[in-house]
Every structure is written in structure tokens, then in C-alpha cells.
């Protein structure tokens, strides 16, 4: 097993390698400001070319029922559907609903876990945007508690 220090040293080499490779497949992956400026779930989905959102049992959102701290809320999005282009993780009541957008390629599962900030209790969404623009979602409520001593 490589040590952490080896990882650090190697990273320089890899950085150069990736820079020269240029990621042609992901040329479209420039940051979509509109998506992150959108206030609502639907507007964020639209920014990525998705249509009206519809609930689907083939999409799954994971998250705790209660988050002890809104600063770090583990959220996951996944789908069993084939033909999904993008998976979005959103928190409805955040100032900007969109947390993260993942391009789904053939080389990865349509299943991502990340952690989000939540200002208050809210529904959280996973939205799968399909090749034909259909936008399918799952949602669940996450309660955010006031932890600590209130100070």
C-alpha cells in the first residue's frame, strides 16, 4: 500500500497528465451558473435541459431523517434507470436549491453520495435527467435540529 506522502508526490505528475489529456469528452462540463443561481428545484432542472419534474420510484434519494447539524448532511442520489444523463442533488429550502450535478457516464454507476449544507429543515431531492429530457425525482424530508448548547 502506498503511503500518504507518496500520494502527495505522485499527484504532481498526475496533474500534469490530466491537464495534457484535456478531457475532450467533458468539454461541455463548464460550470453552469444558471443551475446554481436557480432558486427552485424545477428551475435548476431546467438549467440542465430537463423538463417538468415527475416523481418516480426508480429514483432514490438517501439522507438522514434528522440531521444533528445542518452544516454537514449526507445526501445521496441514485437510479436504476438506464439512459440517465445527469443526476442532481437538491435541497428545496436552501437559498440556491442545487447542491451538485453529476454527469453519468457508462463507466460509473448512477449512484453518488455527497454532503450538503442545510439552513433549515427541508425536503431534499434527487433528480434524474434522462436522454430525452424527462426529469424524474424522489424526495424526502430531512429535519435539521439545533444541536449543542444553543450558544
Amino acid at each position: 500500500m502506498q503511503t500518504r506522502r507518496e500520494t502527495i508526490q505522485q499527484s504532481m505528475v498526475v496533474a500534469g497528465l490530466l491537464a495534457s489529456a484535456g478531457f475532450p469528452q467533458f468539454a461541455h462540463a463548464a460550470f453552469n451558473k444558471n443551475g446554481f443561481d436557480a432558486k427552485s428545484v424545477q428551475d435548476a432542472v431546467k438549467a440542465y435541459g430537463g423538463g417538468n419534474i415527475a416523481e418516480s420510484k426508480d429514483v432514490t434519494v438517501t439522507g438522514p431523517d434528522i440531521a444533528e447539524n445542518g452544516a454537514v448532511v449526507p445526501l445521496g442520489a441514485s437510479t436504476s434507470l438506464s439512459g440517465v444523463k445527469q443526476l442532481l442533488v437538491l435541497v428545496e429550502k436552501n437559498p440556491s436549491a442545487l447542491i451538485a450535478m453529476f454527469h453519468v457516464s457508462d463507466a460509473v454507476d448512477a449512484n453518488f453520495l455527497t454532503r450538503a449544507k442545510m439552513g433549515q429543515s427541508s425536503d431534499v431531492y434527487a433528480v434524474a435527467i434522462m436522454a430525452d429530457g424527462k426529469a424524474l425525482f424522489a424526495k424526502k424530508e430531512v429535519k435539521v435540529t439545533l444541536g449543542g448548547c444553543g450558544g
Binding site: 435540529t145 439545533l146 444541536g147 449543542g148 448548547c149 444553543g150 450558544g151
Partner: protein
């Protein structure tokens, strides 16, 4: 800044010297350990923001006696406990306008608030009562502590249907007094002396009493 550091060093040197003296043969006595602890406190804590190091060294007799009893694991004898309770009873400031019951909604906000008086607060911070840190109060708030007893249905259990009635007077006064200075009723209580310690104002204490005793308060539903 530099002056302060050299002063600190001198104090630390004194502390270490006393440690060395204490470090021989049988070990220090209880009195020596108490003295050493006070020296270490003096050398270790400093002023920061609104909190002055002197408040720690000049803490009152109640805290000194109770701390020592706690450290030795022996509760106070009855006589000392009574004496401390009497001293604290005398500090209770009763409502200047004779009104004991404030707005329970304000009281709930104060009970929720745990802020104020730390070395990262400023003198403009509105102090909270820290009540939910230790007590269950309104049943709807699930984030409550268990260091103190549940206060849910506090007034209801004690039969207070009209807090302004003569029948309710003893319990109303006790509630005010307990919040103002808990040590008047239990010498070494864990509960802060909210009024006496300058944590809550008279108006704030009134609102918290309202939260506990107003029949319309969620506490009594």
C-alpha cells in the same frame, strides 16, 4: 504584550518551584494542593473579551465551599448548607412592580437561547437563559437536556390555574426565587443563579416565570 509574557513566566516559575517543593517524600497535603491549584489557576487563565480572569479567583463563598465539597466527594453538612441558603436567599430581588408573570412567548425565546457572557460574546449580546440545555420544557422541543428535571406541565402539576390568585402565591414566589437564585433553595444546586449572577434581567426572569406558570403556555398543555 512583551511585558505580559515576562510576567507570566515569573508566575509560572513560582508555580514550578512550589511543585518541586511539594514533590518530595510523602506528597502534598490537601491544603497545599488547594493552594497550588489556586496558583495554577492564576497563572493559567487570562482576560479575554468581556471575561476577566479575576472573576475566577474572586468567586464567592458559595462556589468555593461547594467546589471543595464536590472535589472531596462529601456533601456539605446541614448547618453549612443552611447558612449558604440563607445568604443566597437575601440576594433575591423580588419584582419591583409586584408583577411575577410575563409573556410566555418571550419566556420560550429566552429558554431556547444559550448565548451570552462567554469570552467570544460582546457586551451587546442578549443573554439567554440556557433553560433547554438542562430541562425538558415545551414538549414540542425535542432538543432538550436532562441535567435538570423536566419542567413540562410545571404549573399544571402544581395546580396553578390562575397564577395571580392568592392560592398560587407560594409557588409563584418560589419559581421566581428559584430562577433568581437557585442556591437559596439548594446550597450546591447545579443550576445557575440567573438573576443574582446577572445572566437574566428582571424582565427576562418575569417572562420565564410566565413560560412555566401561565396556564396558556405550551408548558402547561
Amino acid at each position: 504584550m512583551k511585558k505580559m509574557t515576562s510576567k507570566m513566566r515569573v508566575i509560572l516559575a513560582v508555580t514550578s518551584a512550589s511543585l518541586v517543593t511539594l514533590g518530595c517524600a510523602t506528597g502534598p497535603s490537601v491544603a497545599e494542593l488547594n493552594t497550588l491549584t489556586q496558583q495554577i489557576v492564576k497563572a493559567s487563565f487570562r482576560d479575554q473579551g468581556i471575561v476577566k480572569a479575576s472573576t475566577l479567583i474572586n468567586t464567592d463563598e458559595t462556589n468555593k465551599v461547594c467546589s471543595e465539597a464536590d472535589a472531596l466527594g462529601k456533601p456539605l453538612d446541614e448547618k453549612t448548607a443552611k447558612l449558604i441558603e440563607e445568604i443566597n436567599m437575601k440576594t433575591i430581588k423580588w419584582p419591583s412592580d409586584g408583577k411575577f408573570i410575563g409573556d410566555w412567548k418571550e419566556g420560550e425565546r429566552i429558554a431556547q437561547n444559550g448565548r451570552g457572557l462567554t469570552f467570544t460574546d460582546d457586551d451587546k449580546t442578549v443573554n439567554g437563559g440556557n433553560c433547554y440545555n438542562c430541562h425538558k420544557i415545551d414538549e414540542k422541543e425535542i432538543s432538550y437536556g436532562t441535567i435538570g428535571p423536566s419542567l413540562h406541565n410545571y404549573g399544571k402539576i402544581r395546580g396553578v390555574s390562575d397564577p395571580n390568585s392568592a392560592a398560587s402565591k407560594p409557588i409563584v414566589e418560589y419559581t421566581w426565587g428559584k430562577i433568581w437564585n437557585a442556591k437559596a433553595y439548594n446550597a450546591c444546586s447545579n443550576m445557575p443563579r440567573a438573576g443574582h449572577g446577572g445572566i437574566l434581567t428582571e424582565a427576562q426572569v418575569r417572562h420565564v416565570v410566565g413560560l412555566l406558570l401561565d396556564p396558556k403556555s405550551p408548558v402547561n398543555q
